[in-house]
């Protein structure tokens, strides 16, 4: 197959790890895209997908740890990972400033993931090819 010209991607993940396969498929896709010379502009977590950004996940040691695998990939490739703030607040994912604002007992966002608005997704749709990784039903 002929190589395609370099593309810019925004990847949107709406399925949670350990509930759907979405974060795994998206990670394998992202690695292959980078390897092929494409650019991943950002990863946007929406709906149940925000759970991927949890710093408190502790799967059994003989299972893959999808949050830390994603975090390492984002760090290595300097890719922003953004969890939608509205989805995150409802589902108990907060950073330090939201912890303070809502007077919560802790924060639990895994670096380098950040929390921001849907504007990040809108920007993605305007400037890059946006692909969705949903729960598989």
């Amino acid at each position: 197959m002929a190589a395609t010209p370099p593309q810019h991607y925004t990847l949107v993940i709406t399925g949670a790890p350990y509930s759907s396969q979405a974060p795994q498929t998206a990670l394998f896709f992202a690695r292959a895209a980078i390897a092929a010379g494409h650019t991943v502009d950002r990863v946007f977590l929406y709906g149940d997908g925000v759970h991927l950004a949890s710093a408190l996940s502790a799967p059994p040691s003989d299972e893959a740890h999808w949050s830390t695998e994603w975090a390492a990939f984002l760090n290595e490739n300097n890719i922003p990972g953004v969890a939608c703030i509205a989805s995150a607040l409802r589902r108990g994912l907060v950073n330090e400033s939201e912890q303070a604002r809502y007077e919560l007992s802790a924060s639990n966002t895994l670096s380098p993931f950040v929390i921001a608005g849907l504007g990040e997704w809108v920007e993605g749709t305007m400037t890059s090819r946006t692909l969705y990784f949903h729960s598989g039903g």
Binding site: T14, G47, S87, V122, T130, Y132, H134
Partner: protein, 116 residues
């Protein structure tokens, strides 16, 4: 670029549709072209007289009524699904365009995103 947001899940049983609606409103807020398609069990979003007081959720009927104000270009409903769920002109909210050819509608948009 024109975006079609597709909602095929009924209201209240899950949040996926609400969050898809937020996506549509957000695109509209940034002056991007966006429309909504309700299909499958999703057409039940469009029924009138939703009274959600007892389930303690906000009515999606009220949210949807604001769609055109927010700049959403069109609200489409799949004809077959509307018929299946007995949605008629007298129990469907105003401003909905019933369509027969979903595939053609998908083709007309350069970007399609499903709820959930």
């Amino acid at each position: 670029m024109s975006t079609l947001i597709v909602i095929d899940q009924p209201p209240y049983g899950s949040w996926a549709g609400r969050e898809a609606l937020d996506m549509a409103f957000s695109l509209a807020a940034f002056d991007q072209s966006v429309s909504l398609l309700f299909t499958g069990a999703g057409v039940n979003w469009l029924r009138t007289y939703q009274d959600t007081q007892e389930i303690q959720q906000k009515s999606v009927e009220r949210n949807l009524a604001a769609a055109s104000v927010f700049g959403v270009e069109a609200i489409y409903a799949d004809e077959a699904a509307s018929r299946l769920y007995r949605l008629m002109p007298d129990n469907t909210m105003a401003g909905v365009t019933v369509i027969k050819d979903r595939a053609a509608l998908l083709r007309q948009h350069s970007h399609v995103a499903f709820a959930g």
